[in-house]
């Protein structure tokens, strides 16, 4: 076989690989889309079915308001928590292992995380319907739960995007430790958000108490002093600047 034919065959194989990959991604995308749509449908259906009679009617001056029983938020919250924690577990395994099973699990990380994020948006929305905004933001525990839920959702959105864009490369060389660190922070915020939700419904856990041992009584609103807010905004700008600077620099994993 001439070198030219060999090159043509290799090119054809590569094209077929690309097509197969493309097809797989489309199938995966369809499955995730269907699952997310089904989840949203179930949650919305439950919400609508019980919005009359099942919820708590609140007399609010000026305009009528309604709320959903917290049970729907609590019910749906298990999905993002379960999915994100599963994604973290897979990241943990892949970080410390290059075995075949670890590599197989790694392929499920971004779909699981992304599905968790979609379910997270549904959960977040359902959570906001339970109490009037003016009331829940008067409650220190309510504020804290909203704050941590916002962190969790935004953080795992970032993780999902990262997972989708970089997939196996999340674990290339030393990048795996970055992935591991980021995911561990993500797992912590999920845990705190969940325990705050439990406290809000009157079932505080040991996690609630242990947070006070490390400096935060969850019955105190988590807010930053003004100077720290400035530091946070500066930190956000700095991180973007470092990203742009690094992006322009010569890439290297060494």
């Amino acid at each position: 076989m001439s070198a030219r034919i060999k090159t043509q065959n290799l090119q054809m194989n590569a094209d077929e690989d690309d097509q197969m990959k493309h097809s797989r991604f489309i199938q995966q995308g369809r499955r995730i889309g269907l699952a997310a749509a089904a989840l949203t449908l179930v949650a919305t259906g439950a919400a609508l079915a019980h919005s009359e009679g099942g919820g708590v009617a609140l007399a609010v001056e000026g305009e009528p308001a309604w709320s959903l029983s917290p049970v729907y938020h609590i019910l749906v919250a298990h999905f993002p928590v379960g999915l994100w924690v599963t994604a973290y577990l897979f990241i943990l395994i892949r970080t410390f292992s290059d075995s075949t099973i670890a590599v197989q699990l790694q392929k499920a990380i971004w779909p699981v995380a992304a599905l968790g994020t979609l379910a997270g948006f549904v959960t977040y929305g359902l959570g906001l319907t339970i109490y009037p905004w003016s009331a829940i933001t008067e409650s220190p525990l309510g504020r804290n739960h909203i704050l941590l839920a916002t962190w969790t959702l935004s953080y795992w959105t970032v993780m999902s995007v990262l997972g989708y864009r970089f997939r196996r490369h999340l674990f290339d060389g030393a990048q795996r430790w970055i992935t591991f660190t980021l995911a561990t922070v993500g797992a912590l915020v999920i845990t705190i958000t969940g325990t705050l939700g439990g406290s809000l419904t009157g079932t505080p856990s040991l996690v609630t108490k242990s947070l006070s041992w490390i400096g935060w009584n969850v019955y105190n609103t988590f807010y930053l002093p003004t100077w720290m807010l400035v530091v946070y905004f500066a930190g956000a700008v700095l991180l973007v600047a470092i990203g742009i600077k690094g992006y322009r620099a010569k890439p290297s994993l060494k």
Partner: protein, 462 residues
Amino acid sequence: MQMKYLAGSVAIFVGLLVLGWTTQGTGIVKDDPERNIVIPDELTSELQVKATYDGEKIWFRYRWPVDRPSLFNDVLVYRDGEWEKRGGEALGPNPDFLTEDRVAMMIDDGSVPLFGRYGGYITIGDGLTTFTGTPETDEERTKYLPSTRENPNDFDTVKPESDLETLRAAGQFIDLWQWRSSRSNPIGLGDDGFVAEERGGDAGTGPYTTNWDKATSQPKYMFNPDVAGSTALQIDAVIAGDVGFNDTYYLSAETAVPFDPNYAWKNGDTIPRRYLRQTDGSRGDVVQPKKARWRNGFWDVTLVRDMDTGNTLDDKIFKDGGNYDLAFAVFRNASTMRWHYVTLPVSLGLEQPAQMVAERIEPGTEPGWTQPWTEIKTFYPGQVTWGRLTDARQHPGADRIAARVPVAVRHSEEQLALYGVQMEFADEIRRQWIWTLIASLGLIVGLGININLLMRRREEVK
């Protein structure tokens, strides 16, 4: 190179999270006397109570921690020809310890709606005296029962007298027992009052009157030098706590004589602004079997009353086998008004199952106090009003109150104390929290952009 950027970025992010964690909750909650806000150093404390009855009388014994007892309330101090009032009411703890210690107990027999589930919270209307934003007036705007107002959240909408009488006859009032370290204890008395359309004293004469003659701008009484050794105390000794139980430190028929304006008064001479006297009528129902003493860091106080005083429009009548709801308030560290420590409602059973069980003793015998103390947590309540708690726009648990879920099911005392403090800075904290939400979200977005720019695929590495 990218790894350094990546590692550095993650380190910055985690560092900011840690820094945020360690600085959170600072910068807003602090004393603000302009708004009548003074935050106690301790937000919770303890009260021990036990009760005994013999079919005729009922005794309550209270014990609570106080670092330094306050034996004086307001006093009159001579300064350059004038008598100046010092002490009494103060914002937060009185640094001169011229505000007395106190214990108060509210009692209901089930007639007052929701008292057994929410305790004293139901008596806190909007705009009470010393609340932030309430103008100072001569009239004290005291706690009241919601049923006594046309609009339960408006102090000024008191129902007509005939309606109030009907409510009173139906038992819609709270019996209020009080003990005061300065204005009742020295002569072994308590004080019997009520909470209905106001917090007031029962009919009759209370244990103290004001030692001040408005016409002459002078005290009415001074110490009897034959009893006290001098006509007055010295303010420095009073403030320093050098005047104690073994000294004559109060004015009464036994220790006082009419004021002598011709006496050679010196700067710093001090006379109590209250004259203690025997009580009569319904107000005198609550007494002490003996004067209370502060020992080893605790006040130990006992009050006693006839189970049936016959004053059914002033007092809750105790019956053998009955169940009652109580709520306590403790005033310590020379604090008064709303700077007290309160309790959630506590159920009392007279030989009946309850949080606190009163033991029956033989008629005519003295209590042996052999039963264990009922330990009750007390907490600083802040300025949380009943109107706020029952408004679904302001309180997520308003629907639980509408469903009559007791406060203790959802909130601990520590939680309520922290909420009480934060409620005093509600607007500031909420604003800062929203900014925290925005800033932290910005940080996460910044991190997301950063990582997406810095992460590399292996094939991109040359």
